[in-house]
Symmetry: C3
Subunit: 264 residues, 3 copies
Amino acid sequence: VGGGRGDVALITLTTDFGLSDPFVGIMKGVIASRAASVVVVDVTHGIPPQGVLVGALVLQQAAPYFPRGTVHVGVVDPGVGTARRPLCIETAAGCFVGPDNGVLSLAAEAAGIRRVVELTEERFFLPHRSATFHGRDIFAPVAAALATGTSPDALGRECGELERVALPAPRTVDGIVHGEIVYVDHFGNLLSNLTPEVFPTGPFAVSLGDVRVVALSTAYAAAAPGAVLAVVSSFGLLEIAVRDGSARDALGLGPGTPVQLIPR
Amino acid sequence: VGGGRGDVALITLTTDFGLSDPFVGIMKGVIASRAASVVVVDVTHGIPPQGVLVGALVLQQAAPYFPRGTVHVGVVDPGVGTARRPLCIETAAGCFVGPDNGVLSLAAEAAGIRRVVELTEERFFLPHRSATFHGRDIFAPVAAALATGTSPDALGRECGELERVALPAPRTVDGIVHGEIVYVDHFGNLLSNLTPEVFPTGPFAVSLGDVRVVALSTAYAAAAPGAVLAVVSSFGLLEIAVRDGSARDALGLGPGTPVQLIPR
Amino acid sequence: VGGGRGDVALITLTTDFGLSDPFVGIMKGVIASRAASVVVVDVTHGIPPQGVLVGALVLQQAAPYFPRGTVHVGVVDPGVGTARRPLCIETAAGCFVGPDNGVLSLAAEAAGIRRVVELTEERFFLPHRSATFHGRDIFAPVAAALATGTSPDALGRECGELERVALPAPRTVDGIVHGEIVYVDHFGNLLSNLTPEVFPTGPFAVSLGDVRVVALSTAYAAAAPGAVLAVVSSFGLLEIAVRDGSARDALGLGPGTPVQLIPR
């Protein structure tokens, strides 16, 4: 941890804190005070408030693009200040630090979990702790400790299990694949829970709401301007988009909308 | 200044510039051009436009979490281009750079003011200066100079006074503490000007608008889902929140709303 | 390229990706994986979706404030996944990397184009490429290669031409200068395509919509609170603003609004 890429250690931050308050800046101040030469990268602070599953999905998507040994902090934490445990999950790719509510689970499982440590060693925390901002008081200083060479061992006691979240599972009934929209991005693109592995083997149409898209596009601009299209997104998920527009706004659809893949 | 933490100098930025324009990126370009190895950390650029008091409060909250010797730039500057003075305030914690309109005053006072210098030495500014963007033309290059070892002395002439702002002061009348909402965060939490020091000594209820909260909670999740609750926030201020929701939206309240603490 | 400022190489990012998704963080992960000690600076990710001309204007404004040798990545890319070419444009100021749709053209022309290279050497790309996110798959890794010393030569084949965009040109008819609003900033300030070079030689009034401003102000605060004013903005463009307010909201005007400068 903290090694594997020369002399630069890296910490990423994924939260629902937004950018209008000083919360993220304060976490970076805590890290800089304890790990002056560590580089901090924002994955995003735009997770919907209390959106644990979206946070888990985003961290799972982003983590593989960072160097081995990166410390990933994920804080979507509606249970802050209660008995939910603070964790460090050590994986083959690096450590994940945050609350034990599932927000770290998808990324950590994908990376290969080696060890789950409950953060109990308070000497790594800030001396005064609030009941509402453990990103500042616990997770930032612990990430700084990891990035400067502290072993996960030293941070607390190994514990067997962790809370997990999961995307809804696709179902195939009579050859029709059933999924749903699970994420809407900045462009208004609608991302489903359907990966190419579950696509029908032959040609198929995509159906959602009142919309039927007859074939996958190879790119946004392969469709006519304003047309609804389906592509495999950069997340590896089937995505419904509108060329040069917002599918969310044009179709009035969002998370939870059922999607079917219908063989033709 | 610029020392105290090994070989990494740090500049923070707190502004009302938002992130949709290149303003912040341009300030970082100016700093990188003059102080290549300095690390720049955004506190926030989401201060409400022309919100000098909010900017002052945010900088006061954030600055103590940064290492000694950090250079803090605060630019909420409706008077840019007029006779208001550009300042460097030297404190025990580091230097504060920005306009003399109060935006630096709360943080600098809390850190312990040593010296107030009016920035008059134009050789530290950009050669061509606009009347609308002194963040780029004056404050960024001056911060770069400080972070690379220039003494505040060299930047101009010492001046005695600075403009100050203050939160409205709480009042206690007949045992009831009167305050008001002064800040609303990204989650819609309503922060008051009331610190534990002014709380009634015994148990008390919190009253604001039509809402009465009978006791302080120890954490957001200690309340029932959807319930209104009161906690001491991470800023050390009494905060009114809604469990897993937005108090601003649920209650329709915002800055200026009176808050009373009523002994029970 | 990548040199010229001691041992710190710099990459800037200008996109329409927003900050709510992990797209920008993922690009930084790709860069960190390949160029650990390079500093990445966000110019902005708030370009309007598919806003190639605005992206080009913003990058043109920002690039001159960065050190020589900076690698500027500009990704506003509605044609991603189609035949539009990925480019590296070498200039006297540094390299510009992005799609060949004009988004790089204003900045690169202003900096002095030396060479235009089509990115064809796939060994510099990520091994698996999507059809929707070349910021991650092509432009980030190519920028990392440039910032660590790879010559533009090595990235592909020189090509003669590039797509260009341009602001609408001002016209002068019977002594009246005709322009239009081309950009609206975070404060609601309305920026026109009119530079001081095209202003009438004597005193003039500014007219847009139903509004007539009789003289240029020297600063925002030189006007009365709430008053409409005109200034030369920090971009060097005539700007219409409202003192301590938003001209966009107060006047209900935006991009495309005609502006006239009328000699008095």
